[in-house]
């Protein structure tokens, strides 16, 4: 066994340390600036519950990123799914098990739409940036057409939404049921990635698609599967999101969140374009952004500063990662030993 060095541990858990550091800073700032504790069970549980939905989206995004792709359309996809679920639910919100159909339709739609991204990506084999750039407009427009206009809100959806995503778990502060779903999704995602044949292929796909093709695995089918699976998580995430917001849904639900989640995943150490990272990295990254966002609001910072700080943090993470990768490449190029005597003399 090769012993792990302290440096390796530091590198692996650096973002966790940063997260803890940020929490401590907020605690100190909280005491001095507003005279309140930041470390407070209701505070922290609210934070965890609020961002649970983003983490579930993140599970899907992580699959896509590890598979060597990206997805700009997630936000509008979530919006579409939310609106369609509201329409299906309609006035039947009281009807016993009707919510099951609503959920099923929502999740299936998410799988189909995300799968469509995957199909186009596999077929054309161009960088998914341009494909999902296009499909996001389709999703956006389709949603407006379906609901007859912008800024639509549907409230009082089936209580099952709230039950699954937004019911407080009484003995745990403000922790809501959505967190349980999040934990389950994170575990499922991690198991698929780390324990299954499929998960291996996701990493392989992001790492070296040429070698995947030479191994007889269909790169096209894998890409479709990755996007479709991500869709499954997107669908579930939107249910939890609606639940967390008390069972009402607006067209804007989900829009723009793809960037927060992608940023979080990158921040945590999931490599864009494939090549490494785990679900746990994404969770830490998304919560780091969540803490910054929540904490700065809590301390009454100007809303606009939050964006600046998030941007700086993300950029810092990219710089750090790039420098580390470069250092590793340079270290690999080095030869051990010293120059021969003749060379030293010259």
């Amino acid at each position: 066994m090769q012993k792990k060095k302290f440096k390796d541990y530091l590198r692996e858990y650096m973002m966790v340390l940063v997260l803890i550091l940020v929490l401590i800073i907020f605690e100190i700032l909280g005491q001095t600036m507003v005279g309140r504790n930041f470390f407070d069970i209701s505070n922290l549980t609210t934070l965890i519950s609020q961002k649970a939905y983003l983490v579930i989206v993140g599970v899907g995004i992580t699959f896509i990123m590890l598979g060597g792709a990206m997805d700009l359309s997630t936000g509008y996809l979530l919006s579409t799914v939310g609106m369609v679920m509201a329409l299906v639910d309609g006035n039947k919100s009281g009807d016993g098990t009707f919510f099951l159909l609503t959920f099923l339709v929502g999740i299936a739609l998410a799988v189909v739409l995300s799968g469509f991204n995957g199909v186009m990506y596999s077929w054309l084999a161009v960088f998914p940036f341009i494909i999902t750039l296009a499909t996001q407009y389709i999703f956006q427009g389709a949603t407006y057409l379906l609901t007859g206009g912008q800024n639509k809100t549907f409230s009082k959806l089936n209580p099952a939404f709230k039950g699954l995503g937004g019911t407080p778990i009484s003995f745990l502060g403000n922790l809501k049921t959505g967190v349980i779903v999040m934990v389950i999704m994170v575990i499922i995602g991690s198991i698929i990635l780390n324990k299954t044949h499929f998960g291996r292929n996701v990493y392989a796909l992001g790492s070296n698609p040429d070698a995947v093709a030479l191994s007889g695995v269909s790169v096209a089918k894998m890409r479709i599967a990755v996007f479709a699976l991500a869709g499954l998580f997107f669908g579930i995430a939107q249910i939890i999101n609606i639940g967390n917001k008390g069972g009402s849904v607006q067209q804007s639900f989900g829009v723009g969140d793809e960037f927060t989640v992608m940023a979080g995943a990158m921040l945590g150490g999931v490599k864009m374009g494939g090549g490494g990272g785990k679900i746990s990295n994404m969770v830490v990254g998304v919560y780091l952004i969540g803490v910054l966002d929540y904490g700065m609001k809590y301390l009454n910072f100007n809303q606009y500063w939050i964006y600046v700080v998030l941007g700086i943090v993300l950029l810092a993470a990219i710089v750090l990662d790039t420098l580390q990768t470069r250092a590793a490449i340079n270290a690999a190029k080095k030869v051990s030993g010293k120059p021969p005597k003749e060379a030293q003399a010259a």
């Binding site: 066994m1 090769q2 324990k195 299954t196 044949h197 499929f198 291996r200 292929n201 990493y203 392989a204 790492s207 070296n208 040429d210 070698a211 093709a213 030479l214 191994s215 007889g216 695995v217 269909s218 090549g275 490494g276 690999a332 030869v335």
Partner: protein, 499 residues
């Protein structure tokens, strides 16, 4: 010619890469108004030599004199300044711009882009060449032959004094080759020094004035083309000393394991040969002859156009590498291990079991215990030197150990037919020997080993039989008593243009 001042003179050029002396004390003069052929086998050092001239590599020793100025190393800017232009096998054109725009690229013709003037310049050069290309055609719409002419026109428009053509005829049809030669002759008459690199000896005789031969990075000689002949050139090109030793093999050659009948696809035509159990079949040919390409067709990684593959006497229906590996027991160890062979970011175990995950998974879940067993077995069999198979990433291994991982990954499929494509490229002597031992072991176990290689020593030292590729077709087959460097090179360098 002797009184003339050379346009370009290289003296004592030496270039060392880790573990290899690519060029050793090479001195050649190139004169204006002369077409000078540079020939040598694969790996003789031609490309490195060219790169020293263009400034892509800085030599470790020697001098380069051009225009009466002497340098120890060129840079790309410096070589361009002295009118040195090189046309590589891969074209260096911007395919969304027009022919004229490419020709004038990088030149300032006034403050704004002046389409009309650029077209005039291009038109004039094309007229001089006597070719009919519309200057405003986008490069991507041109034929390869015309693209090459655009490249040459670009060089000419930059007032090129020394023109290097690296395998210029490889992508051309017979008619296009004629046009190219006409242009080259024209440039020679204008006093341009032309360095012509080609595998096709017929072309060397047709076009060039003098010919220099490199072998194993060493300058052999320069001859007047008129005063030499094919046999003499081949003699100089080969004459390689066989210094490497190869482990002994004690294998029984058995029945036919793999047979190709008129296999065609991936630009390679009508390939037929047989390979037996217990045999190491060497596949030779110059780089780009189609050896790798046909192996990919056999393996199902490229589409077959016509022809058949027989495995153990039965017709094989191979549509994908999966069929090849799991139905017919054929595995391929690709030429470019970093690009196609392995997953550098992942661990050794991860790589070794990758192809057999289906077999060691239950309901989609990978059985860790079996994974470890397989990885350990092949890690040991391949003698992979690494601290920990489960933790060490392939990226951090040496070239030789990386190759062993790729071989292990292929062997884990328990194939009986193993195709090695350049099995020892870029790995050190010790690791090479180990790879040879592994091949022997496979042959002794009755497996069929097919070895595509550009390394003449390895080819002669390891093969039981050799098939030689000409250009995208089969040139011939040699049994052990017929092995000779001359014969192989003669077969391989028989000219022939693509259709």
């Amino acid at each position: 010619m002797t009184e003339k001042v050379p346009a370009l003179s290289l003296k004592g050029i030496r270039k060392v890469f880790p573990g290899v002396v690519a060029l050793d004390n090479v001195s050649i003069d190139f004169y204006p108004g002369e077409v000078h052929a540079l020939i040598g086998e694969n790996g003789a050092g031609k490309s490195t030599f060219i790169k020293a001239i263009t400034g892509a590599h800085a030599p470790d020793g020697g001098t380069i004199t051009v225009d009466g100025e002497t340098y120890t190393a060129m840079t790309p800017a410096l070589s361009r300044q002295h009118g040195i232009e090189c046309i590589y096998q891969e074209f260096n054109l911007i395919d969304v711009l027009s022919a004229a725009e490419n020709i004038c690229y990088g030149e300032k013709l006034g403050r704004f882009v002046n389409q009309r003037k650029m077209n005039e310049i291009a038109k004039k050069i094309f007229d001089d060449f006597g070719v009919d290309i519309n200057p405003s055609t986008l490069v991507r719409d041109l034929t390869p032959g015309h693209m090459q002419i655009v490249e040459i026109a670009k060089a000419v428009s930059k007032n090129c004094k020394i023109l290097i053509l690296d395998e210029p005829t490889a992508p051309l049809s017979v008619a296009e080759v004629e046009i190219l030669f006409k242009i080259v002759n024209q440039l020679r008459d204008k006093g341009v020094a032309i360095i012509f690199i080609s595998h096709r000896l017929d072309e060397v005789f047709e076009l060039t004035d003098r010919v220099s031969i490199l072998r194993d990075g060493v300058y052999i000689t320069t001859l007047m083309t008129k005063e030499t002949n094919r046999a003499e050139l081949i003699k100089y090109m080969v004459g390689r000393e066989m210094t490497a030793t190869f482990p002994p093999r004690n294998a029984q050659i058995g029945d036919v394991a793999l047979e190709l009948k008129y296999l065609t696809g991936n630009k390679v035509k009508n390939i037929s040969f047989k390979a037996h159990h217990g045999e190491v079949l060497g596949v030779s040919g110059l780089v780009g002859a189609g050896r790798t390409e046909i192996m990919k067709v056999v393996f199902g990684a490229e589409k077959k156009q016509w022809g058949e593959v027989y495995v153990n006497g039965k017709k094989a229906d191979i549509h994908s590498p999966k069929d090849a590996m799991h139905k017919y027991g054929i595995c391929l160890i690709p030429e470019d291990r970093k690009r196609e062979g392995c997953f550098l970011m992942e661990t050794i175990s991860w790589n070794i079991v990758y192809n057999v995950l289906g077999k060691i998974s239950h309901a989609g879940f990978v059985n860790k215990k079996k994974e470890r067993e397989i990885a350990e077995f092949y890690g040991k069999a391949m003698r992979i030197k690494a601290p920990n198979l489960d933790k060490t990433k392939v990226m951090t291994l040496s070239g030789g150990n990386q190759q062993k991982v790729v071989v292990g990954k292929a062997l884990a499929t328990q194939s009986d037919i193993i195709i090695f494509d350049e099995p020892t490229r870029g790995i050190d002597v010790g690791a090479k020997y180990e790879i040879y031992e592994l091949m022997n072991q496979m042959a002794e176990e009755g497996k069929c080993v097919i070895m595509v290689t550009s390394d003449m020593e390895e080819l002669l030292g390891m093969s039981d039989r050799i098939v030689v590729f000409g250009e995208r077709c089969l040139a011939g087959e040699l049994t052990k008593d017929q092995f000779s460097q001359e014969t192989i090179l003669d077969m391989a360098s028989t000219g022939g243009a693509t259709e």
